[in-house]
Every structure is written in structure tokens, then in C-alpha cells.
Amino acid sequence: MASLRDIKNKITSTKKTSQITKAMEMVSASNFNRAEMNAKKFVPYMDKIQEVTASIALGSKDATHPMLSSRPVKKTAYLVITAERGLAGAFNSNVLRLAFQTIQKRHKSKDEYVVIALGKMGREFFMKRDMNVILDITGIADQPTFADIKDTVNKTVNMFADGAFDELYMYYNHFVSAIQQDVTEKKVLPLTDIATSNKLTSYEFEPSAEEILNVLLPQYAESLIYGALLDSKASEHAARMSAMKSATDNAKELIDSYSLSYNRARQAAITQEITEIVGGAAALE
């Protein structure tokens, strides 16, 4: 049986760990609230741009644009959004597993795909496996602004336009609720499924529909990616919050069971001492 001091040490260290996890839980909770607010602030922009894009792309039949039409696929790009660090339960591994397995399944040779990694965990994962990471951003803030990722997103969309790859898929954790996040695959480019629930408006174009699509479609694609990032950030904070909460709960349970064995050991020691004293006194009589 472990000595009294050993158990005491274990209790102290577990208590300290639980303080840290508790603090991280609270930090994630506040980050989560803000991330949710950011996601909400983004909604009007996304709705509007979707509505206008749909109106133009679906409304005028003669408006064509390279970003709207599928072309023979020689190279596929996978954009994977992960967190900057772990300690978020299965958050990173879920999304990485799906992306990794899909790539393995779909492609035989390394020339057929490229990877774009948003977040350090994803970058390291794909780098280690020597999969073509052509673009990456690390050090994404907990509350990213559009300006933080604008350059990379812009490059991604331009690469598609230049023919560096022919389709773009996005993998990220979609936020369902504070305790549920689903790994999602979404095709971003080409923009083949622009759907809208609103009524289509017919617009005058100044100067022409094509000119407008030139500006609008990249902006739309970029905001799709940014939207996914915000979604993923909200999921990340929620995942970290619940991971840290269960860590804290587990620590509490551990401390309870350690305390129990500590008290038992102490009681055993006392009983033993008393028996010894009584035994000693009896021997003197």
C-alpha cells in the first residue's frame, strides 16, 4: 500500500492539474461566447452575398464564369481547418482523420492533390506525412478577423483561377451545439451549388454581369472559407470547453478516491499505533 506521503503528493498534484483545467475551461467558455458572436456578426454579410450571387448566377443565363463551371479534374485541393493546439478532445483528430482517409481513398499518386492547412495542428499532421502542403496559416487568433486570413484565402482562390487545381474541398468542424460538433466536407470551388431560399431579384448590371461576377465570385468563395473558419473556431472553443470540463470532473473523482485511500491509510496507521501501545502496556503488567 502506498505510503501516506505518496498519496498526499498525488492529491496535491491532481488538485493543481484540476485548477489548470478549470481555468482553461473558463477561458474557453469566454472565447466560445465571443466566437459565437463573431459567427453571428458574419451572418448578414454571408446572407446578402449569397443572395446577390444566386440572383446573378442563376438569374441571367448568359452570365458564365470559369468559377461557376466544372472542368476536368487533374488536381484536387483540400483545405483543412484545425486548431492551433490540442487539448480539445477529438476536435483535431476527427477532422484530420476524415481528410486523410478521403485523400487516401480518392488518390493514388501524390500529384493528384494538394493540401491547404489552416491551423498549426493540420499543418504539422500533413507535413509529417509528406503530403503536398502548398499553403498554410498558423497562429490564427482565437477570434480571427477577416484581415488575418485574407491573404491566404485570396491566394487560394487565385490558384483555382490560375488552374493550379481544379476543385477545392473544405474540411472543418461544423458547430451544432456546445456539446456536438460535426466534421463536415464541403465543396467550395467550382461554385456549382449556389442555393438560396429567397426570391431572386433581377438587377441592372453596371457595367455588365461578367464584370460583376469577376468581383463577386472570388469575394463569395473567400467568404465561404472565412465562414467555415468562424464555424470551426466556435466548435474548437466548445470542444475545448467540454474536454476541459470532463478533465476537471475526472480530477475531482480522482481526488475523492485518493482522499478515501488517504483516510483509510491514516486510520490504519492510528489503529496500528494504538494496538502497539496497548500491547506494550499489557506486556508491562
Partner: protein
């Protein structure tokens, strides 16, 4: 006077929302003025200022490109970044301007980076001008 609802939205949230009498801005095809009751229209914008007139006052918002969507009762400006004149971080814009100018001197004229630096310079100058209300 008749007014029209205007909102300037960016991915980071709405920047300006109000009822105004007139919106004027620079579209790719030239200066554009919008009054209430305008026909539905979409036009891409240049990097520049949006002027919003209400009751003799003019509010100015700096926008970095994007486009404007006009409906008879509502004007929406969707830009990747936009700031109201008094919210512009002038120091940051000045730093960005210097950075862009330096890059323009280093790069070859044809390179992609040159184009990007040029745009960055335009955005910085636009912010500075709007914050000083000169345009």
C-alpha cells in the same frame, strides 16, 4: 425628404446602418449617385469613399472594393473591409502606406506582388484621405 436605408457590411460585422437621403460612391465604371427609388442594380466598387448624405450632414465610410447592391428601398454595400471616418487607425494606415511604397520600389513591375503592393497602397491612401476628409 425621402430617405433610403443603407447598410455597409463586412465579414466582421455591419459597419454602418442608417437612413440617408443620398449615397454617392465610386463604382468601377465611374462616380455613382443613388437616391431613393433607384432601380435594382449591382455594381462593383473601387477602393474609395462612400458618402452618405442626411439632413445637411455627410458621413463618410472608407471601403476597400467590394460591390453595391441597390434596391428601391435599400442599399447594401458589401466590402471585405470598411471603416467609418472616425474609426480609422491612421497610424496603421501610414505604416501600411510606407510598407507598400517600399515594396513597390523593390519589386519588378510585372510581378504579382507588385500588383498587390499597389492595391495595398491604394487602400492605405484611401483610409488616410477619408480620415482627413480629403477626396
Amino acid at each position: 425628404m425621402k430617405t433610403i436605408k443603407v447598410s455597409v457590411v463586412t465579414p466582421d460585422g455591419p459597419v454602418y446602418e442608417s437612413d440617408v437621403e443620398m449615397v454617392s460612391t465610386k463604382a468601377e465604371s465611374g462616380e455613382l449617385g443613388i437616391l431613393p427609388g433607384h432601380i435594382p442594380m449591382v455594381a462593383p466598387l473601387q477602393i474609395g469613399a462612400v458618402r452618405l448624405k442626411t439632413q445637411g450632414k455627410t458621413d463618410i465610410v472608407a471601403v476597400s472594393g467590394g460591390f453595391v447592391e441597390v434596391r428601391p428601398d435599400k442599399v447594401s454595400i458589401l466590402a471585405q473591409s470598411a471603416e467609418q471616418a472616425d474609426e480609422i487607425d491612421v497610424d496603421r494606415a501610414l505604416r501600411a502606406k510606407e510598407r507598400a511604397e517600399k515594396r513597390l520600389n523593390d519589386q519588378k513591375r510585372e510581378s504579382v506582388d507588385f500588383k498587390r503592393a499597389e492595391l495595398a497602397l491604394q487602400r492605405a491612401l484611401n483610409r488616410i484621405n477619408v480620415s482627413e476628409r480629403q477626396f
